[in-house]
Amino acid sequence: MSNTIHDMGGMHGFGKVEPEPNEPVFHARWEGRVHALQRALGATGLWTIDGARASMETLPPLTYLAATYYQRWFLGVERRVVVFGLVGEDELAAGHSLRPGAQLPLKVTPADAARPPVRANFERPSMAPARFKPGDRVRTQNINPQTHTRLPRYARDKEGVVEAIRGCHVYPDTAAIGQGDHPQWLYTVVFTGRELWGEGADPSIKVSIEAFEPYLLPA
């Protein structure tokens, strides 16, 4: 689902941003464990980063809002290990394993974990030339898919300018739902505050999104 609570750009009512002086990396031990579990299981390649995002985005809205960041991560991981058949609901209820595990495609060893983590590369070979070039005026699609997308609601059906081509990348909209990488050209598209927020907008702001080619039409 795309029009879910996670898509927050432009919403009102959440109050002030409250920086925390000398914030620790993790606020409790369990947060670090959730972080590490997510990293270790993510490395197996069983699911995609987009699938992981989608599983958190589709949490019930009240849960999403009430949960802290690592609570959301935990609920997402807990859901995925069941969906991908690694763990049974009965085992979660029991709090320990009831069956031996299956063979994973990859298991993170302490030697892997000791190396500094490096972000994966999501760039892929292109199947066709880029449709747009820097300077082109484009209009974002008005889409409301039932599945995952990275086109935020506030930037749909808006006119902007292509500022840069960022290469051809895994397409989250298909990768999230197990339909493959379908690499697409990725662009930085910039909009005026007025285009996004109307006449009352702050004239001194510009907002860019990273837009995959299927999100865009020539303006």
């Binding site: 750009g9 941003v17 409250e18 935990f74 690694l86 999501f122 001194s204």
Partner: protein, 199 residues
């Protein structure tokens, strides 16, 4: 049970549930607790905003490096052997007297971990994610930052796997400073765009 009650029960006993899930995953041979310890340790001790600050300080004193950083930040970061390796598609954006940059992820919490460490809670919070794109001046005010009236604010919404780091302006009065001393004033918030370096 109403949805509301259900939603809250989902968050109860989270510590116990995390422990139980780890136990199950370890028992089934899916994760190695020693590897988990090391992952936690690397983020608590090795990966943090110091890495990004070194890039900025070097860019301030070395125009060639700055040009390389703005062209391809991943490549430039990896050319400095003393910064931990940076994966693909790090993009550096430069503050100028005309333009101030601010980075957000309205859809989740995308953030350049390798150069800034894990994001602070406020970066992942609803107030920041909702307001940065519509009311950036209000957000900056929450950080005690005011910009000159004629400064354009450019917000970068990290909606894909590209990651952004802001290169703030070098403050006046730091002309004779060493690279190490300069790096000390480049805070995490400066590189997100919610702070300014102070000499």
């Amino acid at each position: 049970m109403s949805d509301y009650e259900h939603d809250h029960s989902e968050l109860s006993d989270i510590q116990l549930r995390v422990r139980a899930l780890e136990t199950i995953l370890v028992e089934k041979g899916y994760v190695d607790p020693a590897a988990l310890d090391l992952i936690v340790e690397s983020y608590e001790t090795k990966i943090g905003p110091k890495n990004g600050a070194r890039l900025v300080a070097r860019a301030w004193i070395d125009p060639d490096f700055k040009a390389a950083l703005l062209k391809d930040a991943t490549e430039a970061a990896n050319s400095l052997g003393h910064v931990s390796p940076v994966g693909s598609h790090l993009i550096a954006v430069e503050n100028t007297p005309k333009t101030h940059n601010l980075v957000v992820c309205t859809l989740c919490s995308c953030y350049p971990w390798e150069v800034l460490g894990l994001p602070p809670v406020w970066y992942k919070s609803a107030p920041y994610r909702s307001r940065a794109v519509i009311d950036p001046k209000g957000v900056l005010a929450n950080f005690g930052v005011t910009l000159p009236q004629d400064t354009e604010i450019r917000i970068w919404d990290s909606t894909a796997e590209t990651r952004f780091i802001v290169v703030p302006m070098r403050p006046p009065g730091t002309e004779n400073w060493s690279e190490e001393r300069l790096a000390e004033i480049v805070t995490r918030d400066c590189m997100i765009g919610t702070g300014l370096p102070r000499s």
